[in-house]
Structures are given as C-alpha cells and as structure tokens.
Symmetry: C4
Subunit: 277 residues, 4 copies
C-alpha cells in the first residue's frame, strides 16, 4: 500500500466509531486528523466507500461470503484499491491493498489475494471512465445469466439497465473451466463483453457493475439485484411488459447521480448500526 | 415551519424515548407538556404520524432510501407537512417542513426539498377529502406498473383496492422523461389518473396511496405492497381467481378504519424498539 | 377471568425472565410457586402457550397486526381462553380473557373484544376434540383461498393437510359482507366447512388451524403457511407433483405430535430472546 | 462420549467466547490448552464444526426445528458424532454423542436420540470417503423433491450438483410410511440412491448433503438450498436454461474446497454475533 500512515489510522477511527469505543476513538481521532493533513491523495475517503459498500451489499444479501468491491486509485489511474482475500462483510480499511492494472499487488506482504482480481484490472484498463467496480454472485441476477430472457430496466432506480446488460459466457472463449476469471486473458474477454455498459452478467456465476465512482458502482450492483427480482415477478404475471426506453433510462440515470448521497448516508448508518450491535 | 416551539420540543421527547435516555427524556417531557398546552393546532400528533409512518414503511422495505409521507396541515387545508429531502428511515419531527399547494416551502431556510413534492401538492389540491399521502417505490407493486395485469383486491385488509387502482404512465402526456414528478403539470396529470381512488400506480416507478388520515395512507401503502405480493403468488398458481367484489371492498374497508389503532400501536412499538437497539 | 391469583403472578415470572430481571424474577417466582399450588386448573400453562404461540406466529410473519390464538379452558370445556383485542405480538398473560361458547366474555370489565371470536366459539362447540384454535391472515395461504388450486401436503411436517383443507367462502351463505366472522351464524357456517379437518381456508381472508392442544394448532398454522409457500414454488416448476397420500399423512402427523416439544422449546426461546433484546 | 476430558472443556471456551465472558473465558482457555494437549483424537475441532454448522444452517433457515449435522469420528472411522435429539439452533458441544454405524449410541446415558440417525449411519457405512453428513428440510429444495424437474447446477458455488442430485422416494421400497428414515433398512435404501453423488433429495421430506469434511457438507447443504431457489426463479422466466456442464462442475467444485475457509470464518462469526446479542 502506498500511504500506510494515513491508512493505518483512518480505519482505527472508523472501527472505534462503529463499536462505540468512545475513549479510544477520541484519542485516535487526534492522531488521524494529523495524519489526514498529510494524506494529499485523499485515499481515505475512497477506502471508506469500499468498506461501506462491501458491508452494505453483504448486509442486503447481494454479496455473501464471496465477491469484491474496488476503486481506481484516485491518485494513480493505473492502480486500483481492493481488499485482500476476505468475506466482504468483514472488510476493514486495513485490509485494502493496491494493485496495478495487470492484477499485481504493489506490496503484497504475504497477504492472500482474490483469485478474480483480473475482473477489476482489465475493466479499469479498458474503461478509463470507470472509477469503481463491484463483482457479486447477486442471487436475483443469476437466473438471468442462464436464461434467454434479457435483463431490462423495470424502474427508474435501475435506469442504467435501459442501455442493456449483456451476458458473458466464459465457455464461449475458454471451453469448460472452473468458471473463474483467474487470469488477464479471461478478464479481457469479460471487459470486452461489458463494452460501454454499466453491468455485465456472467453465465452461471454472477455479475459486474461499474460506475464513475465507487458509490455509483455499489448503487448499480444493488439495484441490478432489485431490478432482477422485480422483472422476475413481472414476467411471472404473464403478458407484455412496459420497460423503460433507452431515452428514459439515460435521463433517469442522471438523476440517480444527483440523489445518491441520500441513500448512501442511509446505507452507511445501517452498516454502522449493524456493527455496533 | 409555523409553530417552532411545540415542534422543537416534541421530537426531543420522541428521540429521548426512542434511545432510552431516561433522564433527559424526563426533563424534556415536562417542557413538552407545557408546550403541548400551547399547541392549539395539534400538529405534533400529525407530525408524529408522519415520522412513525416513514420509519414503519422503511422497516418493512416498502420504502427504501427514497419515497415520502405527508399530511395535510390540520390547521390550514391549503398547506401540507412533509420532510426535507431525507431517507424515510432517518426522518425525525425536526425535519418536517410546511408547503403550500403549489409545492412552495413556507420557510425553506436553505433546506433541500424533495423534487417530487408536486405529487403531494396536486393531490391535496384535487382531493379535499385526502388528509395523508404516501409515495413509495413499493417493490411488489412495481411489477404491476409495467404489466397488463391489473392490481385487484385479494384479501380484506386491502379492501380499498376493490374499487380499482389505475396505472399512470408519465410517457402518455410527457414523452420520454427522467420519470420524475418534478413540476405541478406532471403532478396534476398523476392526480387526474388517481381520480377518486385510494391508490394510483406509476409506470416504471412506484405508487401513491392516499387516505382520510396519515395513518390510513400508510396502512394502504403497506397493504398495497402485501396485496401485490399475494396476487403475484395467486397468478402464478394459474387458473381463475376469486377477488373481492367492489361491494365487499367498500364494506371491508370501513372496518379497516375501525381497527387501525391496533396495528398502528404495534407498528409504533416496532419502530421504537428497532431504534432503541 | 376465573383464577386471577395464579394468572396475576404467572405472567410476572414470564416477563421477568424475558427481560432478564433477575432479582424481581427470583422474588416473584417464590410467590408464583405458592400460587401454582393453588391453581388446580392448570390454566397458567395453557395461557403461556397462547402467549408464546401468538408471539411466535407474529415473529414468523404468519400473524401481522391481526389474528388470534385461543385454547379451550382445560377446566371447563364450555369455555375458552383468548386475548382481549390486541396485536398478537403484544399479547401477555394478563391480556387473556375467558369466553363461553356463544362468544360472551365471562368478565369483560370494559376490555375491547375481538370481533371474530365467533370463529373460536363455534369451532369449540362443533368439535369436542379441538383444544386450540388459531386464526391468521397467513400470507402464503391467502393466494390458495382465491385460487382453484387446492392446498395439498407437500412434506411430512404438514402431513395434517393430506386429509384436505377445504375453502370456505363467506359469500356463498351471506352474500356481500365485510368479510368478517362477526356473529355466531357466520362462525357456524365456517365450522361446518371445516368439518373434521385440521385447517379451513377463508376466501379472501386467511385460514383457521385447529388441534388437540394449543401447541399443535400453532404448529399447524405455521406449517400450513410453509406448505403453501413450498406448493406455490412447486406449482411454478410445472408438471405433475407427487403429494403425500392420505395414508402417509395420517402416519406422519402422528409423529409430529411426538416431536412437537423439540420445536416448541426452540420457538419459546426465540420469542424470549427477541423480547429480551 | 469417548474423550470427556477434552470435550468437557472445549465447549466451555466456545460458549465463554460467544457470550463475551472475558474472565471466565480467559481462565478456561488455560485449562483447555492443557486439555488440548491430551486430545490426540482432535475431536474438539470436528465437534466445533458440527455446532457451528448446525447453528449456521438454522440461522439461514435451511434447518428449522428439525434436521441434523454429523461427522465421522476422526479417530474411529466406524463411529460418527451427532447431537442428542435437539433443535439445531440450540446444539452445543456438550450435546454431541458418539454412535456406531448401526446407529447405536456408544454411551447413551438416557439421552433422547434422533429417530433418523440411520441416515447418517448407513451413508458412513456405504461411503468411506464421506466425513460429514447434513440432513435438512431445506425449504427451497422440497419443491424439487415432489416435482419432475431435476435439480441442476445453476452457478459455480453449487458446482457439486452438476453431477446430478437423485430423488429418493421412500414409497418405492416401503409403501405408505410416516416418511421417516427410522431403521437401518430405510437408511440403506437412501444411501443406495445417493450412490456416489454429493446430494440426495428425499420426496416430500428434504435432502441429505455429504462431503469429505463437515464444513463441505454444510457448505453443500447451504448452496443446495440457494441453487434450488435460483433454479426456481430461472424456470419461472421460461425458455431454455444454460446449466453448468458436468465438466465445469467438477472443476469448479475443486475451487470450493480451496476457498471454504473464507466463508466458514464469516459464518462462524455470524453465529457468534447472533448468540452474543
């Protein structure tokens, strides 16, 4: 990791606050404020979003023991930040590591790495606009990954799906595998299928959501799962369905950006409350 | 806000009680009782219902980070009360603001407003009988907003649906939009489709439930969601379904009024318990 | 209520235990043990089962703010015990009242009564073998009450359904009503449709489960809801289904009696833990 | 139980840790470390996995009041370890007993036994590779046990299903029964249908998952339930589905072994947190 000083202290505050350790928290805060002033990169905020996003998605059941949230390094567009191999519900700021766009850890120090970090590396390489990536085994989405029914935008919170959400099948390029994105070539294939979209479905596996910020990637991962559930219910009603048009989707998605703090603040509080119990 | 004195103290009690702050609560209660005696408008009770309703619907997942609950001002039928822009689960009495029926804040003081306050304004304008309005992205209802299958009353707690629940499609009058009720004209169109019904569905968006009291609007928002889920399950069984007739609906809905306190007291306790944890 | 002395103290133990009031609990226990020795009727145990059953079914979502659990008075087969009008999640032993089989309260003392107590009264009258009755708006069952698909036994825990679960439609005998069992005549009609079965479905309303003990009635109310959910999922898979035969049902239901304490103890602990939080 | 010394102390640590009994925990730990050094069998670790697995599956709703988790005795392949008759959510290390492969308790001491221990006994007898067995009434799986639609692997976490999951119908060999595996002959029939697979479905009852370790059996019981839910949703979408091939299944299941600690640690923490509340 590049800036160990600030990162080492920032999570101490977060955890102290989460677990109601008033005394310790107060002391650490002083240290951290000092450290923050020497954190020109502003990584602490992005790392906090990775931690919050990981826990929120775990809390909602979009992530279970697997899956991961990453952010492009705000200081170095050729690097990204991501947890060591760990269940998302347990990720803390101290677990976040730095990687280059070939998926190599900058300073591994013997920590276990996610096998599928190439999902993130290759998408950051192919899509300069993407600042956050989320990979999940989103339960409501998985049925669409093995179905011929395309996932489409049912409501405005999932407006980003109105542009389409392609399905990537690892078997098309790589034959019978263990289904994992375990090297750069497989990651590249996935990134190509994603194209310029916000979400790509992975056959028999899950999905990847991307965004111009970690928060938007988390938001999209969440609402992709919700939309899939609602579309499944709508399909079961029978008959023709009235989806958002691409034009509506583009306009409505712009609003999602404008209001994301409202739901992000709620989610952050939800995770904090859960942890404090 | 019109009556800051009573409103400033009432939430202090509520919060003290919710968080088990015995000492502070006891002190504040004395102040508040004094204040209540100079609150001829009785707004405190209605505001408490807005807060409780917002939190109950969030707790049940009918509301997520978005949506809102409002009440017609009991003192001034040309005004209504509604939170500043905030996730419903976080609304407290101190967040409630006052609006006129064009959606203008009486005393904004720089607070952020809900973009879709025109839903409420135009319904209060068109429907003098309505005292409470709830707008949600009710997850079980959304599939019906994009389907040709009409939402119908499956059981007596949702008897108010037996009169019908029309679907409003913003595209019919306004073409491709960002899907939001962001001005009076769009609100008027929605209110016209609602007509004299209790619930209107919004295509690709959610629904609006109204009632002769905030509690009834919240009750209807909740049971609209439950009814939609049960109807979806019933449709999936296949074959003809035996819905409530309009006659049964009218009679059964009258009973809902009579017993609402029983479930409201439970809901209020549920929200209080959740917060106190 | 007939034996106020024992009843007054028994709930004090229960509540003290539930809320971890060690000191008070210890003191009260001494009193209660004394009282128990003068409680020849043994009503305290049955009342505890009504309270536990009400809260368990509320905790599982089988009951929401409405519905009720009753027991035939173990001392007087022409009376039954049931809460005053109250949400099931809030019922305590002190809320239990005594009724005759015409639905009259023995000692009302101004307390509000459940409008639908005639469900219980008329079933106890018609079925001497029944010792416990549960009425719910069981969400997974309601779809079957309006469908032509009969509810059938999917697995052995719901073996009691293998004998059939008839659907009662209030409209057949009484035309367009408010859907409620609000007098003895309507209760009688319902009891006739129940016949010698364990469960009767109420069109557009819910169901009633009965048993040779309160615990069995609660067990059946719970597994009727579970079975309905599983049958709905099985129907949605398509094709022929392989239900329990009546012969299997009779044999398997006998085992349910033998093992009910295992799950009852779990449920009681679950409710206790929830309350203690 | 064979080695009471180590077993008597090991659960004391576990419980002290779970309930945050710092002092007691610290003292007991010293004792236990001493004891561990005289526990050549290493049963404590396996027993802890049985307890954790029972509670995790109960927490997820895969187990309700019924079902059981067992392990082959790591010291004696002709014995297995399993709780006395108890709801899985309540199992502690002190409840684990030892059985021979005919289902006889080695040292019953009057404790109640699970009627269906023959499921475990006969599978351990027939399958030397199996070290852990889980029997559940897995709610999402039960519909497949009465359907003609075979359960198939929808995603890589359930890769072990790609080899097939046969359905065993007790009625085929034994006619109309109470549906229980209540003797060795019935257990043998079930084990034969299981064959060399990882999961066998029991018509109108539930399923059995096995593995080369308790953790893998628990993992498979959990993901069998998840897979069944996802496959049900996929079937409801209509059209052809793209399941994992047997080749993909074999490769992907090998990865599940490699990463099981990541999710097991999460689950163990989840159970611990739940208990500590």
């Amino acid at each position: 990791m590049l800036r160990p000083a600030s990162i080492r202290f920032a999570p101490a505050i977060a955890l102290a606050a989460l677990f109601g350790l008033g005394e310790v928290g107060a002391q650490t805060q002083t240290q951290a404020q000092t450290q923050t002033s020497v954190d020109p990169a502003g990584n602490a905020a992005v790392i906090d979003d990775i931690v919050t996003g990981s826990r929120v998605l775990a809390d909602f059941g979009v992530l279970d023991g697997f899956g991961h949230v990453s952010a492009r390094d705000p200081n170095n567009p050729n690097h990204f930040l991501m947890s060591r191999s760990l269940a998302p519900a347990l990720v803390t700021a101290g677990d976040i590591m730095e990687f280059d766009l070939d998926g190599n850890a900058v300073d591994a120090r013997g920590r276990a790495l996610f096998l599928e970090r190439f999902i993130h590396a290759e998408i950051y390489k192919a899509r300069p606009d993407v600042m956050g990536v989320v990979h999940t085994h989103s339960p409501n989405v998985i049925p669409f990954t093995i179905s011929q029914v395309p996932l489409r935008a049912v409501f405005h919170n999932a407006a980003f799906l109105a542009a389409g959400a392609p399905v990537w099948d690892i078997r098309s390029d790589f034959g019978e595998t263990d289904m994992l994105v375990r090297n750069p070539a497989i990651g590249r294939s996935l990134a190509q299928t994603l194209g310029d979209k916000s979400v790509v479905l992975m056959r028999g596996h899950g999905d990847v959501a991307v965004g111009p910020a970690v928060r938007m990637a988390v938001f999209r991962a969440y609402y992709t799962d919700v939309n899939a559930r609602l579309q499944s219910q709508a399909v079961a009603l029978g008959g023709l369905l009235n989806f958002l048009t691409p034009g509506e989707g583009a306009k409505a998605d712009a609003v999602n950006f404008a209001v994301i703090d409202r739901i992000w603040n709620l989610w952050k509080m939800r995770v904090t409350t859960t942890l404090a119990k």
